[in-house]
Amino acid sequence: MAEPLIVVEELHRHYVVGGETVRALDGVSFTIERGEWVAIVGQSGSGKSTLMNLLGCLDTPSAGVYRLNGSDVEGLADDQLADLRNREIGFVFQTFQLLPRASAVQNVELPLVYRGVPRRERRARAEAALRAVGLANRMTHRPNELSGGQRQRVAIARALVGEPSILLADEPTGNLDSATGEEIIRLFSELHQRGHTIILVTHEPRLAARCPRAIRLSDGRVVGDGPGAEVAALSGARAVHA
């Protein structure tokens, strides 16, 4: 039997702030299968950002196991983490995080640059990714010449171009008006139907309710894991716990 794409067991992440230990993640366990669309919800301070950083291999856990696509992230050197991010993770950020001086297609090419894909192939794949998110006619535009929704599409194209195992989206609609946000969510839905694994980190229950599955965090622990609509409906994690 094939191992799940993501295995998280008893994951801890502690910070020492001003002599006090903050348990941002305090023993989190779950698995995510290939092709799932999972929301990670929680209020600010619940640990969801910390979890996202760990899942995205931007950070390493204080204790516990994180296996991504069969390889243990524990003990990897910085360079190996960089390579792992490049291969396995496609990031979509709330603030888009596009390079302002680069054109759309140059932005999308970036992960392939760091993978050593030859220029011509790189360009072709970046253009294909932009076409896939409906930006065929915006290739050479710079970010400041694009609308918010278009910028986020460029960011999604950039996340997809390297064919990673996971699409890791952090509040992808947070900086968009509701109509544009809806478009982006529909795009995620399409990508999910095409078989992509998507993890969507959000504080909005409304958004989590749209996902087939949601994991709710509170105070660094999992307080709910199930169908999106149900988990999203849990109001105030602490109340449920008590």
């Binding site: 931007l58 910085d78 960089a82 390579d83 991010r85 390079l99 680069a102 970036l110 050593g116 220029r119």
Partner: protein, 420 residues
């Protein structure tokens, strides 16, 4: 094999990307880039200009010094390069060199291809109402020209017969002929009478123009048989001997001369030579020492300016790293390794510095040409100076860019992405 090619493609792509980013951010902040590199520009400009001028001086010096025969030794009471007053007084009290020494060298120094005595003084030359003072009067023999002392333009040089018979004949230096006989052709001067320090002489030849050597006008002289010189202008003068040989024999020639002269002058074995053997090379050596010191100062000044420029670059790179913290975070999230970020910023700082170096080199060469045009100083441009300017400035960029680049590479991706 496949992994290796992929690594190469990756390195190449990263490098190309780094250069593209570097140029992009330069163009993006033109004024800032310009101000950043100003220090480098000025430093490189200074060094290049000074180096070009020194090299120009060297060339013109070496050209002038070639007036001294390269294959000729100059035997004299005095060493050209005396060390201090004490030595000078010691040399002054030495026995004069005279006909006896000349005869011995002519007879016994077998490696010599030419031996020419030289007696010299400054004197006045007159012709009708024209009078030239401070003219170098030289007494020598027929071999003089074979010791690298120029050539005859018109008429003839001195002969052995002139010397033997103590004839009152003279060969005029180019400038002397021109000034005593304005407008006359050198040929028409032949056979004319001139008066040297009150003694009548007949002009038998005119020398070709030689130019200057070390500020000395090599054309303002009159040459006559040394026998006549000693008779008419003073017998108490010490002779100098110019002795020429084949270039490869020069050291052996010196040994022979030393042996002969010590014997003739009865120098006891435990005493030092009471004469000096000079050669052109000594001048070059001392000159190179002098300009070497000048080089040192110029390069010191340039280095200080480059350091100041480097600090400017470091400063602006630190600002740039801070400004682009989020960009660094994004790049790291997308798979850039630390050393990729390091490389990106290193390339940026060296490109800025090298561009500054290129501008500085161009300006420096311009300044050198301007100096050469407006002053008697010469300027020479050598590829090595240009390479030096560019190389140094790129090096400064690398050196002073390394700390900011290291800071960029050390950034934590999580923190960098969150940076506002």
């Amino acid at each position: 094999m496949n992994r290796v090619t992929r690594a190469f493609v990756r390195a190449g792509a990263e490098l190309a990307e780094a250069v593209r980013i570097a140029l992009g951010s330069l163009v993006g902040a033109r004024l800032r880039s310009f101000l950043t590199t100003l220090g480098i520009v000025i430093g490189v400009m200074t060094v290049i200009a000074i180096v070009a001028i020194i090299q120009g001086l060297n060339r013109s010096f070496e050209g002038q010094i070639a007036n001294l025969g390269a294959n000729t030794l100059y035997v004299s009471k005095f060493a050209w390069l005396a060390q201090g007053r004490g030595e000078w007084w010691e040399m002054r009290n030495r026995k004069d060199l005279g006909k006896r020494e000349l005869a011995a060298v002519e007879r016994e120094v077998t490696l010599a291809t030419a031996v020419a005595p030289q007696a010299g003084t400054r004197g006045t030359v007159t012709r009708l109402d024209k009078e030239l003072s401070g003219v170098q009067l030289i007494g020598t023999n027929a071999r003089y020209l074979d010791t690298g002392a120029g050539s005859v333009q018109a008429g003839r040089f001195l002969t052995d017969t002139d010397v033997d018979l103590e004839r009152a004949v003279a060969v005029l230096g180019h400038a002397v002929a021109e000034r005593l006989f304005p407008g006359a052709s050198p040929e028409s001067v032949l056979g004319q009478r001139v008066t040297l320090e009150g003694h009548p002489f007949t002009v038998v030849g005119v020398m070709a123009k030689r130019g200057q050597m070390l500020g000395m006008d090599m054309d303002s002289n009159v040459t006559m048989p040394f026998t006549t010189f000693l008779r008419d202008l003073g017998s108490k003068r010490s002779l100098n001997l110019a002795v020429a040989s084949a270039p490869e024999d020069l050291s052996a020639l010196e040994d022979q001369i030393v042996g002969v002269l010590r014997r003739v002058r009865h120098v006891p074995p435990d005493k030092k030579d009471d004469f000096a053997i000079n050669r052109q090379e000594q001048f070059l050596r001392i000159y190179r020492q002098l300009t070497g010191a000048l080089y040192g100062v110029a390069i010191g000044v340039g280095l200080i300016t480059l350091v100041v420029g480097g600090i400017g670059i470091m400063n602006i790179m630190l600002v740039s790293v801070t400004e682009r913290t989020r960009e660094i975070g994004v790049r790291r999230a997308l798979g850039a390794r630390r050393r990729t970020i390091l490389l990106q910023f290193l390339i940026e700082s060296s490109v800025v510095a090298a561009l500054g170096g290129a501008v500085g080199t161009t300006l420096g060469l311009g300044v050198a040409q301007l100096v050469a045009l407006l002053t008697p100083l010469a300027a020479a441009v050598t590829p090595s100076a240009v390479a030096l300017g560019l190389g140094f400035s790129a090096g400064v960029g690398l050196l002073f860019g390394s700390w900011p680049a290291w800071r960029a590479a050390r950034l934590d991706p999580v923190e960098a992405l969150r940076y506002e």
